[in-house]
């Protein structure tokens, strides 16, 4: 049984990643059944520090200054705003139940781990991790993989209770671009591209056929990179 766009609900906090997701979905004519804004993560002024960019590996330009709502405007459908500070709250689970969510595309705040109760409120929570799995689990893996191999990667997974160990739906490696911000530009763009790949995959293939179970004995779980190492990675990008 293939997934359809009607199976997906996109919930997000307004941040760079969510904007990149919305722009790539919109460019490709994809509007999930429901789009729900949970709140703001970034001060609006901050987005205006970053102009529109394009990257060799992404057919879609990314304009950080265009909000999620603006990107989806052309579909003429409303974005619901339900302000929820804690995605692990009963309130959020009630929202998922109310909209009978099958698959959730989740673009949440960094570092927040979803509890089992939330994960069980739908059939799958689709998350794009900023690292090529299973090699790079954990935090700040972009920087580690730049230092290791001068590459970046992202993996779309259905989240489970272990950190970045869910079944892989789609993953991709990329060459990082020099002189281009990592956290606010390259990370969101790469993840958006992988999200698009994952949705296309899910809508063309049976889930049982594509879900790649991770070998937990492979790869490493990384923690927040020491700033001196981060600085080395940034230098490799001439930043």
């Amino acid at each position: 049984m293939y997934a359809t766009l009607d199976d997906f609900i996109f919930v997000y906090y307004e941040n760079f990643r969510s904007r990149a997701y919305a722009q790539i979905l919109s460019e490709n004519g994809l509007f999930p059944r429901k789009v729900i804004k949970l709140g703001d993560e970034i001060a609006p002024k901050f987005f205006f520090r970053y102009p529109k960019v394009s990257l060799p590996y992404s057919p879609t330009e990314f304009n950080p200054q265009v909000s999620v709502a603006s990107s989806f405007e052309k579909f003429g459908r409303n974005i619901e705003t339900i302000l929820i500070d804690n995605v692990n709250s009963k309130e959020f689970i009630n929202v998922l139940n109310k909209f009978d969510c099958k698959y959730l595309i989740y673009s949440g705040r960094a570092g927040v781990i979803l509890k089992d109760e939330v994960l069980h409120a739908c059939e799958g929570v689709l998350h794009v991790h900023g690292g090529y799995l299973p090699e790079y689990r954990g935090s700040t893996t972009f920087y580690y993989s730049i230092l290791d191999k001068f590459e970046i990667g992202a993996s779309a997974i259905f989240i489970n209770s272990e950190i970045d160990e869910g079944n892989i739906i789609y993953r991709q490696k990329y060459s990082p671009s020099k002189c281009l911000d990592v956290d606010y530009i390259q990370d969101p763009m790469v993840r958006a591209d992988v999200l698009l790949g994952a949705l296309h995959t899910l809508m063309k293939t049976d889930l049982d056929e594509i879900a790649l179970r991770q070998d937990k004995t492979k790869g490493n779980t990384y923690r927040v990179i020491h700033p001196v190492l981060k600085s080395f990675a940034l230098r490799k990008l001439d930043l």
């Binding site: 580690y144 230092l147 490493n220 779980t221 927040v224 001196v228």
Partner: protein, 182 residues
């Protein structure tokens, strides 16, 4: 030790990082001298430790602090590391990264026995030694990152002889690893 270091702008100094841990989230490393400050900080720490140390700590065994239970456990883990078994060590790396401290004792399931308080400072030196072992074996930068955080913390407190000798060895290794990455 920290108050004896020469002045530089390395941000992870000027406070006891065991009492006031650093989480390193969203660290600003935009200062162009950031890496130089790190090396300057470590070189100063090494010079300071050399000034308080004597050539052979084996000549003064009676000065050595008694090893705690967790410290001895890290000795055993270091043997496992040499055999390529990192499973338990990785659990302790995760514990350190979350709390930036160890408890003095853990039960057989590696759950903390909080009533025994926090680990002593020499335990962190041995943990750092184990991180050096793993990094040399795997070249995985995640371990180097944890080692650097632990060294930041160790440099933020005072060490007397002969414990300073142990830390000196770790700091020299850490700096060498980082220099080799440049």
């Amino acid at each position: 030790m920290n108050k004896n270091l020469e002045t530089c702008e390395y941000p992870y100094q000027n406070r006891d990082l065991f009492k006031f841990p650093e989480n390193y989230f969203y660290a600003d490393c935009s200062n162009p001298n950031f890496v130089c400050d790190y090396f300057y900080h470590r070189d100063s720490a090494i010079r300071h430790l050399e000034s308080v140390s004597y050539p052979s700590p084996d000549l003064y065994p009676h000065f050595k602090s008694e090893k705690t239970e967790l410290n001895c456990f890290f000795d055993k883990l270091r043997i496992n590391i040499q055999k390529g078994d990192l499973v338990v060590f990785n659990k302790f790396c995760a514990k350190y990264e979350v709390r930036k401290k160890f408890y003095a004792r853990y039960d057989k399931n590696y759950l903390p026995l909080k009533e025994f308080g926090d680990a002593d400072h020499l335990t962190y030196v041995n943990f750092s030694n184990a991180l050096c072992d793993v990094y040399e074996k795997t070249e995985c930068l995640g371990y180097l990152s944890t080692l650097m955080k632990c060294c930041d913390a160790l440099c933020s407190i005072s060490f007397g002889y002969p414990d300073s000798e142990e830390l000196l060895i770790v700091l020299k290794k850490e700096v060498e690893y980082v220099r080799n990455l440049r």
